[in-house]
Structures are given as C-alpha cells and as structure tokens.
C-alpha cells in the first residue's frame, strides 16, 4: 500500500466535490482517462464515484485523492510509468 506523503505532489484543488474535480480535470487537460474506483496509481487505490478521470500533462498525472474528513484534493505528480500504464489501458 502506498502513502501519498511519499509522493512529491502539487495540490491543484482542495476540499472539492467529485463533480468539481471531474469538471476541472476534463476542462483543463486534453488527455484524460477514466478509471474505476480501486484503480491503483502510485500504489494508492483511488476512492471515488465511478468513473474517475485522470488527466495527463506532459510527464505529470493529475488525479483525485479523497480523505473522509477533508474531502477530495486534486494532485499533480510526475509519473512516466503511470502514464504508460494509463495509455496501455492496464
């Protein structure tokens, strides 16, 4: 199991709803993949209402990270391997 604190992330949105992050990712990124909850990214199982969008911008992936008390954050993290996995549909 991964730990988000081990990632070098940038927070793009804080305390947002799933509708807000869906709209944000789809509006700001041309390359977007939709995955199901439980999809592993950086060894984290994604939490969310299906489908969950993940954006790609250069070598960075943009994805939602949800906690029970703090809602959802949209994080930007560098990850070529994760981008390859998304593009290959694995």
């Amino acid at each position: 199991m991964g730990c988000v604190e081990a990632l070098n992330y940038e927070v793009l949105l804080r305390h947002c709803s799933f509708k807000e992050y869906r709209a944000f990712i789809k509006k700001h990124y041309r390359e977007v993949y939709e995955v199901q909850p439980g999809y592993k990214i950086f060894d984290l199982a994604l939490i969310g209402v299906p489908p969950i969008p993940i954006g790609v911008d250069g070598n960075f992936v943009i994805f939602p990270y949800t906690k029970p008390c703090h809602g959802t954050f949209v994080l930007k993290v560098e990850g070529k391997e994760e981008i390859e996995k998304l593009r290959s549909g694995k």
Partner: protein
C-alpha cells in the same frame, strides 16, 4: 474474488468523518444487527473514528475487528479480502465517494447509510449501483434506526 461460505459471513461497516454525533451509535447498532444476523462485524475507519468507537465498546462486544480505512479499501480492491455485506456511513460528500468505491470493488451487498442534515442532498448524488437508507438524523437516531431496521428486516 468469491466470498467464501465456508467461514462465517463477514459484514463491514465503513465509518465516515468522526465529527457526526450519531455515527458511534449507528455503528454499534449496525454491528449488533450484523451479529444477530450471523455476520462477524468488521469496522474500518480513520484512527479518530475507530478510537471513538473503541471507547464506546472497549471489549468489542459488538464491533469486532477494526481496520485502517485505506488498508481495508486496498484489500478489497486487490481481491485479498471481501465482505458479504458492507455498510458505508455517509454524512459528507466524501462518504458518497467511499460508497461509490465499495459498490465497484466489492462483490457483496452494499448499503449506503446516509444521515445528517444534508442526507437528502447527499443521497441524490448516489447514481451508482448501491442500496440506500436515508434519514436526516443529527442528534436523534431513532428515525435512522427505524429506516435501517426496516430495510434490513431487523424489525421483525
């Protein structure tokens, strides 16, 4: 993952943010109902939510095994473990996200228990395959108890 019927059935209770006054009573009630129905209750939540519940039931007469929330979701999503029945407690928008997640990763029955001041608005966000119990309970848990008992047939 197939849910084995060789061992005792397991029922999962996923706690939300611990700030809701009704959550501890609700979790104990669900654990009690699960035990009466033949399930071994397992509770998952963040550390504060688990500690509040453990303080209310220190010898685990009702609540059974307790798990870290992220670990629990990880185990279900990687097919290491699954539950015959899961309750997801929803009193914030994040709870809808957890219900959506469990509805996808678990092969068992999933019931979202939606409560608190915003219960109706939160329930309207549930557009995925999931049973719901909805009651705007904040301090008085009885409407919620009745709604759960009716859906689970624990009132017969």
């Amino acid at each position: 993952m197939e849910i084995s019927d060789e061992k005792r059935k397991e029922g999962l209770i996923i706690l939300g943010c611990p700030e809701a006054p009704a959550q501890v009573s609700l979790a104990v009630h669900l654990a009690h109902g699960l035990r009466r129905s033949g399930y071994a209750p397992v509770v998952a939540g963040n550390p504060s939510a688990r500690q509040l519940l453990a303080m209310a039931d220190p010898e685990h007469h009702y609540i059974g095994e307790m798990l870290d929330l992220e670990r629990c979701i990880e185990e279900i999503s990687t097919d290491e473990r699954d539950y015959d029945l899961s309750f997801v407690l929803v009193h914030r928008e994040s709870g809808v996200s957890y219900a959506g997640t469990v509805s996808v990763v678990s092969a068992g029955r999933v019931v979202a228990v939606v409560f608190g001041k915003e219960a109706e608005a939160l329930a309207s966000l549930i557009d995925f395959d999931c049973e719901t119990v909805v009651a705007p309970a904040v301090h008085n848990p009885m409407p919620l108890k009745k709604a759960i008992d009716r859906v689970m047939k624990w009132d017969v």
